[in-house]
């Protein structure tokens, strides 16, 4: 059974609120986090996790309904051609180092981000006003400015990341530890937590929040530990290697029919995901159910009988136990359909076989933006995704070269003292600025 977005929100809220709902949030305390994966950079564009620690902000942002709302700006205007946009910056906003936010301090970050898409874009500033101008129309400018790559930061040799968000970096050891503290001069509401300490590569379930990696390894959680799962945000799929771009479409069709996704989701992913038949999940597009299909091994065999197939290699990222188990299961399913698949690890001297098993992180809550990212990664030229129908057609055309397998959620263990302000949480990310800690009762 597939659940809509609102249901995920409800379930997540229930799972993340083990404590008494009537307990009132309060400020203070230090949150400890342990993650099995190591962060080696604080670059917001590389920060692709459901765990959201707002250190930086953008001019605008997406709200829970997918709409654009002001963030560091308070208003914007554009001309009829969408070539000239004027933004009014929020007043009395300061960076973590005390510098005020104005047009001059915001322009370098914006220009660097926009130049990647609009070659001749220029920015003019004046006080709290920013004018973004280009010779070509910029209809998607707001979406671009809401993307993580458009965060406004200040360059400093003393601090690796200086933004305007509710948390500021106080310690950073790449790959080992990150400590952030509440930014008292934040223009919005102060976060509940005084600080957050994140240790990487641990995952020993001793922290307030720890990640539970997806995979076949069975993990028994300590008593009282709750879980929080994101909406599906990682797509596991089979892609055709560039060197085998002329692979027979019928082969992919047969393979797709031969794969039974349910055991992959239920057993290998231990239900931390859902079967995928489309590139974008249901919560993002609303039409993903249209792609659903059941395994049909006899039909797959029939297709295979029309082909002359040599053994096919299916590569997966090295040291990824989950993808390795998925690859072996696919090989087993393929064998039932009459296709010989040999799973193999990616190696430096062998970057991949005929087919590749990949994980795709969904980083945008805008389906058109996300589909365009996928298309770019697949080497497809720009898509027309201006309307939902066009988006659907564009996605269907991409399915000729991709076999979606499963969407994975990010799951975190939550200690009993951790509370999430449910009214402000969504299913895509766990916003740590909305987390508060229950005060320990004094010992009698």
């Amino acid at each position: 059974m597939r659940l809509p977005v609102w249901a995920w929100l409800a379930l997540s809220s229930l799972a993340a609120a083990p404590a008494n709902a009537a307990t009132r949030p309060h400020y203070g305390g230090s949150l400890t986090v342990e993650l099995s994966t190591a962060w080696t950079t604080l670059d917001p564009t590389e920060w692709n996790s459901a765990l959201s620690i707002p250190i930086t902000e953008t001019l605008v942002r997406l709200n829970a309904r997918g709409g654009i709302e002001p963030a560091l700006c308070v208003a914007w205007q554009h001309d009829a051609d969408l070539k000239r946009w004027r933004f009014s910056l929020r007043p009395k906003v300061t960076f973590h180092d005390g510098e005020p936010l104005n047009g001059a301090s915001a322009a370098p970050s914006l220009l660097a981000a926009l130049k990647k898409k609009y070659a001749d874009v220029s920015i003019q500033t004046g006080g709290q006003a920013i004018v973004i101008q280009s010779s070509e129309a910029m209809p998607d400018l707001l979406s671009d400015l809401a993307a993580p790559r458009s965060t406004i930061v200040r360059q400093s040799s003393a601090n690796p990341l200086i933004g305007t968000g509710p948390f500021r970096v106080t310690a950073w050891e790449p790959g080992r530890r990150l400590v952030v503290a509440a930014f008292d001069d934040y223009w919005g509401s102060r976060p509940y937590l005084d600080s957050i300490a994140i240790d990487f590569g641990a995952g020993r379930a001793r922290a307030d929040i720890f990640d539970i990696p997806v995979g076949p390894a069975r993990r028994i959680l300590p008593e009282g530990i709750g879980t929080w799962s994101s909406a599906p945000r990682t797509l596991v799929a089979i892609t055709v290697a560039i060197t085998a771009a002329n692979a027979q479409p019928m082969l992919l069709q047969a393979l797709a029919l031969g794969i039974d996704r349910a055991p992959i989701v239920n057993v290998l992913a231990q239900r931390k995901g859902e079967a995928a038949f489309s590139l974008l999940p249901q919560w993002l597009t609303g039409y993903a159910f249209l792609f659903q299909s059941a395994p049909d091994v006899p039909r797959a065999k029939q297709l295979v009988s029309q082909l002359r197939l040599a053994p096919i290699s299916l590569s997966y990222p090295a040291n990824d136990a989950f993808l390795r188990s998925v690859a072996e299961r696919i090989a087993l399913n393929a064998r039932d359909a009459g296709i010989t698949i040999q799973p193999s690890q990616n190696a430096l001297n062998n970057p991949g076989g005929n087919l590749r098993l990949i994980e795709w992180q969904i980083s945008s809550e805008d389906p058109a933006t996300e589909l365009e990212r996928i298309a770019t990664a697949l080497g497809v030229s720009r898509l027309d995704a201006s309307k939902p129908e066009a988006l659907y057609q564009a996605e269907r055309s991409l399915l000729d070269r991709v076999i979606p397998l499963v969407y994975l959620r990010e799951t975190y263990g939550i200690a009993p003292r951790v509370h999430i302000e449910s009214s402000k949480s969504d299913a895509f990310a766990l916003h740590l600025e909305d987390v508060w800690l229950q005060q320990e009762k004094p010992q009698p």
């Binding site: 390894a217 069975r218 055991p263 057993v267 290998l268 072996e328 087993l332 799973p343």
Partner: protein, 550 residues
């Protein structure tokens, strides 16, 4: 092939053959010994394999029992009693297999669905129907089974235990791999190798210097699963055989060398007197009848030399006797011829003289006339006697030839010209002469007078052979280094017997011949180192051919 070579080959062949026979016998005995040893070692290894197989079977059974009694399996069985989600147990078999050091372990639900597989984790959810086909696994011993793996198949020592799960059974099937590592753990003797043959192409290299013993390995249903190959290296045997062959080769070579020396020595000892004997024979053949062979030993060769010397002594004696006899015979023949030749003219002399005496006594008036006639007859007969004596005198006085360049064609023309008056004498039947002279003869070294005389005798004989006329042909020719002159007639010819005796002195077929003509011709030809032959058939004339060195 020389005698020395024969001796050498005989000795060398004997040495090599002897060595080869000895080497072959030794090699055969060694091979049999090695084969007996290999058979014993193989039997010991097969026994050891069976013991190890049984021991590991007991160990596998114990480990599977431990798995069946584990908390994880008991908990799983408890969960399976009702509607259960078995997905959390997906990795359980791997954990348990690791704990019990098992290569294969599968946890299979009551419906024969794999819950967890250690050897092929991705196979969860698939069926293992063979497990539910056997009602009581407790009484089943450990057995061999081919296990499907992601990368092929493996042979396993498998056992199955069951745990009650509600109304059904949880099956625990597992064991250990029967692979090369297992086989390597068997205590084999040096030079032995044990391998498994499970499918075509698996054993890619078999040592050609090894003997292979096979032992079929069968599964529960007696199906052939694999073959145990016990390879006994024959490297030691091969090395020993090579050593024997090498030694035999060296000994053989030494034998050949020894044969060479022995043959040289033997040949020296044996062939030296034989060579001396052969040399003596050659000297005897060229007329040195007084040659003697050296007698250097008392063996057969020495006896042969003695017999040779005796033979030459007898030959010399017989030759002397023959010469003496021939002399006597020649003198007798000469006396007979002389008596015959002289008797003929003496008888008319006697008659004439007696006529003279009677005429003087009976008719003195006619005496003068008779005297005149008688003296005439006497002179004629005396002349005849003188001629006879002259011929004998000429034959006796044949001088040594005085060689000078002679043109044989010119000589032939002169002789024919000499006989021209006689050929065309009135009343004589016509004899036609024919000269067939080769123009390229050139000159040869000869005594022209003697050669002319020989030709004259041959022409004279030819004319005598044609009293009724005929054709006289003189032909000259040259071949290689010889010049030939032939004188042919068309007379009555000669019998083969006459041809054989023709050149014997004083032999003649004519009524008034002395028998010296052809003897003189042969004497002249012989003095010029030439040859004379005759070919003739009765009624078809005769041809005399003289060949002289050019």
């Amino acid at each position: 092939m020389s005698f020395r070579t024969k001796v050498f080959l005989s000795i060398a062949a004997t040495a090599v053959l002897s060595v080869w026979i000895v080497a072959a016998v030794v090699s055969t005995l060694v091979t049999q010994s090695f084969e007996r040893r290999d058979a014993q070692r193989t039997a010991a290894l097969v026994n050891q394999f069976q013991r190890e197989f049984d021991r590991r079977g007991i160990e596998v059974a114990r480990r599977i029992e431990a798995v069946a009694d584990s908390d994880a399996v008991q908990r799983l069985a408890l969960n399976l009693a009702g509607p259960a989600d078995t997905s959390p147990y997906f990795t359980e078999a791997q954990t348990l297999a690791q704990e019990q050091s098992l290569d294969f372990l599968e946890l299979v639900g009551p419906d024969a669905t794999i819950i967890s597989s250690a050897e092929w984790p991705a196979r969860f959810g698939y069926k293992e129907d063979w497990l539910t086909a056997t009602p009581d696994w407790k009484s089943q011993a450990v057995f061999l089974k081919k296990e499907d793996l992601a990368d092929g198949q493996a042979l396993g020592l498998i056992t199955v235990r069951t745990v009650k799960a509600g109304d059904g059974m949880l099956y625990i099937a597992g064991g250990r791999r029967l692979d090369q590592e297992f086989l390597d753990s068997l205590p084999g003797a040096e030079g032995m190798r044990v391998r498994l043959y499970r499918q075509p192409g698996e054993v890619t290299r078999v040592n050609s210097d090894a003997t292979i013993t096979t032992l079929p390995l069968r599964g529960r249903d007696n199906q052939l699963l694999a073959i145990l190959l016990i390879e006994n290296s024959r490297a030691d045997l091969v090395a020993l055989k090579k050593y024997i062959q090498g030694t035999a080769a060296i000994v053989g070579a030494a034998g050949v060398l020894l044969g060479l020396l022995l043959s040289f020595w033997t040949a020296s000892r044996v062939t030296r007197p034989l060579r001396g004997l052969a040399s003596s024979v050659r000297e005897v053949a060229v007329g040195k009848w007084d040659t003697r062979a050296a007698v250097s030993s008392s063996d057969e060769i020495g006896q042969l030399a003695r017999d040779f010397n005796g033979m030459t002594e007898q030959l010399v004696e017989q030759r002397d006797r023959m010469i003496q006899a021939e002399r006597v015979a020649a003198w007798r023949e000469l006396a007979r011829r002389l008596a015959h030749e002289l008797k003929n003219p003496l008888f008319p002399l006697q008659i004439t003289i007696e006529n003279l005496q009677r005429a003087r006594d009976a008719s003195p008036e006619q005496f003068d006339e008779v005297f005149r006639e008688s003296t005439s007859t006497l002179l004629a007969e005396l002349g005849h006697l003188k001629t006879i004596i002259g011929r004998f005198s000429d034959f006796a006085k044949m001088p040594a030839p005085q060689l000078e360049p002679v043109n044989i064609n010119q000589l032939a023309r002169e002789v024919i010209q000499l006989f021209e008056p006689q050929l065309h004498a009135p009343g004589r039947p016509a004899v036609e002469t024919k000269l067939l002279l080769a123009e390229d003869l050139g000159d040869l070294a000869a005594d022209p007078e003697q050669l002319r005389r020989a030709l004259r005798n041959l022409v004279l004989n030819a004319l005598d052979a044609m009293p009724d006329g005929g054709q006289l042909t003189v032909r000259t020719s040259r071949s290689d280094s010889k010049v030939a002159v032939e004188v042919s007639d068309t007379g009555e010819g000669l019998t083969p017997e006459e041809c054989n005796r023709l050149f014997t002195p004083y032999y003649t077929t004519k009524l008034h011949g002395t028998g010296l003509g052809l003897a003189i011709v042969q004497s002249v030809v012989s003095d010029h180192k030439g040859t004379i032959t005759v070919r003739s058939e009765p009624g078809r004339g005769a041809t005399f051919r003289i060949e002289l060195k050019a």
